[in-house]
Structure formats: C-alpha cells, structure tokens
C-alpha cells in the first residue's frame, strides 16, 4: 500500500474513441489517468459498459481495430503508445500480461494446456521444447493445479472452470510480468472457487502490480489496496479501498453500496439508483451521473466535474458527500 515508490505503470489521459454510424468520433473512455506501483493491487469497479474492459485492453493496445486509442501509457518508464508491432508483441505476456473473464472461451479449445504454455514460454525465452515443458509443469504447479504433469496433456474443456482460470493465471505469470491486468477473473466462477482464485492471486502477485477489474464491490474490498470507480467512461472516484468503501464521497459510489444487499448486517430496504447508465452515444453533457443523481444541480447538468483530490479520496463531483 505504500505507494509511488516503485511505479510500474503510469496511465495519463487515456482516451478511447469509436466512430458512430455517421463517422463522427464518439468518446467511450475519457481522460483516464492512474498509476500502479509494484506489489499494489488496484481495483477498477463500475457497472457494465462503464469502460473497465476497454481500459484494461488499451493497456496492452489490444482494443479492437475499430476503436481509436490515445493518451500516454508508460510501463516501467517505456511509452507503450510508441511501440512498434514487434515491440508490442515482445511486451505482451512478458512485461504486461492479462487474465480474462471467461475461462470457458478464453483458452483455445483445440490446443492442449501444455501446448499453450509452451508456445507462450518459447515466444519470449529461448528454450528447448523439453525445457519449456518442464517450465509449463512448474507453472501449473505454482498456481495450485493438482497433478500438473497430467494436466499439461489435457484440453481446456476437460478442466473445471476454476482450474481453467488457474491456467489463465499461469499463462499470465509465466514471464514474471511487471503488470498483470485481470479483467473480472472471478465473475464467472462460483463463490467457493472465487475465494480460491482470490487467495491465489493475492499470494502469487506480490512482485508485480495487479489491476483487478470487477463489478462486485465486495470482491474489490477483499483484494484491492486502491480502488478506481468508473462510470460512463470516466473515473468518478479513486481512493484507498477500505476508506472508499466505508466512506464513499461520490454519490454513485455511495449509491452502489446502498443498492447492494449484504448478509453481514441487519436487513435494510435497498436503495436503488434510478434509471440506467448512459451509452457512449447518449452521454449527457455535464456530469454523466447527473440524470440519476439525487444531489444533482444545475451545474452538474452543464459542466463536467474534474477529479479533485480530497483527504479521503479523489472524486469528480460538484457535490461530494462529506464524510
């Protein structure tokens, strides 16, 4: 949690635009900036469509070709936006790696687990097939897959969802990357398996910076040191995990917390946030949350608030909740 000592990733003014049917540029992600230190777990939370996955993909410059990405992304001081295709390929999986949400579709169904690992290993390291095989087994063992010697020969569909997600994690950890981006790695899993994976990630990712994307505030609270809340392509609040979750300042964050049922307290009526989030094509001019916000005023509807650091968290709101 002691930040800023060893920054591995620095994102500044990231934007992702799409072209709407008429050809005009439509911003999907706007002005996203954050940094990540070695050993830190940074959570990105937000509702569906808020731009979490796109942010993650842009870190590896993996956004779909139809989208246009700009801004600055520096990994260990190197500007990713200026890398050539070759350099990018060398960076991906090596310095920055990624774990995707759906372990069912994320692994090639016609390739054995071993061959995927071997391929990824030999891509960045000169090693013989036999050596790579050894390392693959070791990598599987390291993510807690029982009898890894057997599992390397197995096809993804022969593994349970939890094991598949472990394979994905093994793939991501192969080359000791500086940054690991995990896009909802536990969403598709059962609660008991989710707990296993969270444990695994916490224990294995100590030397790297981890970006952990989730829409579940509970999960974020469990694993993250710091949390970024996204809404409609913007960062609306950022802060230390516990503080942010127990004393949210942005009405949206607070709304999310009030809308979530929880069993560790006495039942209270849930307070839903009215309406639904805007699409990139129907974003309001001012604060994107204004139409759903009980505290919204004229200024909210007209002017977009900037992220302002506060004593508890950094928040982009004209009328933040006081603690």
């Amino acid at each position: 949690m002691s930040a800023a000592t060893d920054v591995v990733l620095n994102v500044d003014g990231l934007r992702v635009n799409a072209a709407d049917p008429s050809g005009a540029e439509v911003p999907i992600i706007e002005d996203v900036s954050f940094s990540l230190a070695r050993g830190e777990v940074l959570g990105i939370v937000g509702e569906s469509g808020s731009g979490k996955s796109l942010t993650a993909l842009s870190l590896l410059r993996l956004t779909p070709e139809t989208l246009h990405q700009s801004g600055s992304i520096r990994v260990a001081g190197r500007e990713v936006m200026r890398l050539s295709q070759r350099e990018l390929q060398r960076m991906r999986g090596n310095q920055v790696s990624m774990v995707f949400q759906d372990p069912m579709t994320g692994l090639n169904p016609v390739r054995t687990v071993g061959s995927l690992l071997v391929e990824a290993l030999r891509r960045h390291r000169r090693m013989s097939r036999a050596q790579a095989h050894q390392s693959a087994v070791a990598a599987l063992r390291a993510v807690g897959i029982p009898s890894p010697e057997l599992r390397v020969k197995v096809y993804p569909h022969q593994l349970s969802g939890g094991l598949r997600q472990r394979v994905m994690i093994a793939l991501a950890l192969l080359h000791d990357p500086a940054v690991i981006v995990a896009d909802e790695p536990t969403t598709a899993l059962d609660a008991t398996i989710q707990a296993q994976i969270i444990d695994l990630m916490r224990s294995r990712v100590s030397s790297a910076g981890l970006i952990f994307i989730t829409h579940d505030l509970g999960v974020a609270g469990q694993i993250c040191d710091r949390i970024i809340v996204m809404y409609a392509g913007h960062i609306v609040e950022e802060g230390v995990a516990l503080t942010l979750l127990s004393r949210p300042r942005h009405p949206y964050t607070a709304g999310l917390l009030a809308a979530a049922p929880r069993f560790d307290r006495e039942r209270k009526p849930l307070v839903p946030i009215p309406g639904s989030p805007p699409t990139p094509y129907s974003r309001p001019a001012g604060c994107p949350f204004a139409p759903r916000c009980a505290r919204a005023s004229e200024v909210c509807r007209e002017q977009r608030p900037e992220l302002v650091p506060g004593d508890l968290s950094t928040v982009a709101c004209w009328h933040p909740l006081s603690s």
Binding site: L54, P274, G275
Partner: protein
C-alpha cells in the same frame, strides 16, 4: 421510470468488424439481379424474340451480326432469344425446385424439431438417412426414367435436395428451441404449434432466406448440369445447361455459344450467392451451416 431506448452492446469483441463489403454485396447482388431479370423481362415482352426460329443458312453467326446481336447457334437461331428463354427456363426450374425444397425442408425440419419422442427420432433419422442419398445420381436416374420436361426436372431436383434444407432448418430450429423465450412461451401455456408459428418460424426466417438463395444457386447449377447431360430439357427448348452442352461442338468455331449461356449462369448464380451472403451476414454465421 424513464426508458432508455438504446442499450450498450454487451462485451467487447461480440461485434464482428462489419466489413463494408456486406452492404456492397447486397447492393451488387440485387443490382445484378434487377439488371439481368429486368432485362430479360423487357426483352421477353418487347423484344419480338423467337428462340425457336431456325434458319439453317444463318447458322453459327458470331457476335454482333446484324439482326443477331449475340449471334446464332447451329440451327441459325438467335442467341439473344435463346439466352433469354434459357434464362427463363433455368430460373423457373430453380424457383420451383427451390420452393419445393424449402417447403418440404421447412415442414420436415420444423416438425422434427418440435416433435418429441419417437416421432422426432424417426424424423431425424429420416433426414440423416436421406442425406446419404446420392442426390445427383438419383436425379440422373429419375430424369432418365420419367423423361425430360419442366415439371419432371423441377420436381426431381426438389425431391432429391430437400434433406439438406431440412437439416439446416432442424439445426436452426433446435438451436432456437433451446432459447429461453421459447421455454418461457411454453411455460406460459402457449401450445406447441403456436410456438412454432409465432416464435420459431420468424426466428429462422433469415436462415430460410439465406438458404433459399444458396439453394437456388446450387439447384440452378444442378439444373444446368442435368441439361448438359441431356437429361433436363425437352429437345429444342432452350436452357442454359442445354445450350452449353450444344456449344461443346463449337468451342473453337463459335465461342459465343459458350459465352452467352455460360456468362448468364455465372451472373445468376453470383447474384443469388451475393444476396445469400448479404443476408447471412445479417443473421449469424449461416454460411458455416450451409456446409455442403
């Protein structure tokens, strides 16, 4: 409660990069079709064309001959007239047989998909088995036996080709029947037939159209093949395949005799395929379903 009309597309990569070639394909396909069919219709009504008029002295005249823009054939008949008549014949056979194929295929496919128990087993087995019928071989045999003619040809082609259609309809319908909204309808007490008519049929409509276009293209080629073998058209009736067969003797002497029917077939089949492509890109990946 306010209603937000547009909903974000779920998932990042779900959207296929919609290549601009798709609307282009549709445009091209429909354009070609309109030009060819429209042209043929115009010529048929205003052209004073007589595809049967023989003139032995004028035989094998080349392209651009006065009075015969597209030349004449081995009996001095006008190639333009024969091309138009052949097109009409081939398209008509294609349409009738495709209608038959799609009719039988849809009924059997839907029936198999909505039936349960033994009926479904029997129907799917029937489809599977019929798929192993060597259709062209059967068509050749039937045509040789029942004789040439429009209805013989159309019915034969229809009767030997329906299993493919039924299979695709069945597969699509089964896929659709697994959709939760079909389950929902059933649980609401909607009857089976009603579900098929109100949910399944509209659901596979696009597939049917796509299949229809592809089937039409295939059957057109099959028709031309049978006519080429001399098993399709009656003597003297112009058909594209028959004209191609006749042209074989004159490949060197009168290449326009290959060119006219050959190009016409290509254009029609390409048209149908383009339209099919364009339609299939609108529904999900039917091209892969139309594996034949």
């Amino acid at each position: 409660m306010t209603e937000t009309p547009v909903v974000p597309p779920r998932g990042l990569f779900r959207r296929r990069p919609s290549g601009r070639s798709r609307p282009l394909a549709l445009f091209l396909g429909i354009g070609l079709g309109v030009v060819v069919i429209g042209g043929a219709l115009l010529l048929m009504t205003f052209g004073h064309l007589d595809p049967g008029r023989t003139a032995p002295v004028d035989r094998l005249k080349g392209l651009g001959t006065t009075g015969h823009v597209l030349g004449t054939d081995q009996l001095g008949r006008d190639m333009l007239a024969r091309g138009v008549a052949g097109l009409r014949w081939s398209v008509a056979v294609g349409v009738v047989s495709t209608c038959l194929v799609s009719g039988i295929g849809t009924v059997v496919g839907l029936w198999a998909a909505s039936a349960r128990g033994l009926v479904r087993v029997l129907l799917t087995r029937l489809i599977d088995m019929s798929l192993s019928f060597p259709s062209l071989v059967l068509a050749v045999t039937i045509m040789a036996i029942v004789g040439r003619g429009f209805w013989a040809l159309s019915l034969t082609l229809g009767l030997v080709s329906w299993p493919i259609f039924a299979r695709v309809v069945y597969a699509e319908a089964i896929g659709l029947m697994k959709r939760e909204y079909i389950l929902a309808a059933r649980l609401l007490g909607v009857s089976g037939l009603r579900t098929v008519v109100t949910h399944v049929l509209p659901g596979i409509r696009n597939t049917l159209l796509v299949m229809w276009a592809f089937m039409f293209a295939d059957l057109l080629i099959a028709e031309s093949g049978l006519s080429f073998l001399g098993l399709g058209v009656p003597l003297g009736t112009p058909s594209l395949g028959g004209m191609l067969a006749e042209s074989r003797e004159y490949l060197a002497q009168a290449p326009h005799m290959v060119l006219v029917p050959g190009l016409t077939i290509v254009v029609i089949v390409v048209t149908a395929n383009l339209i099919g492509d364009a339609l299939s890109s609108r529904s999900h990946n039917v091209t892969a379903v139309v594996n034949r």
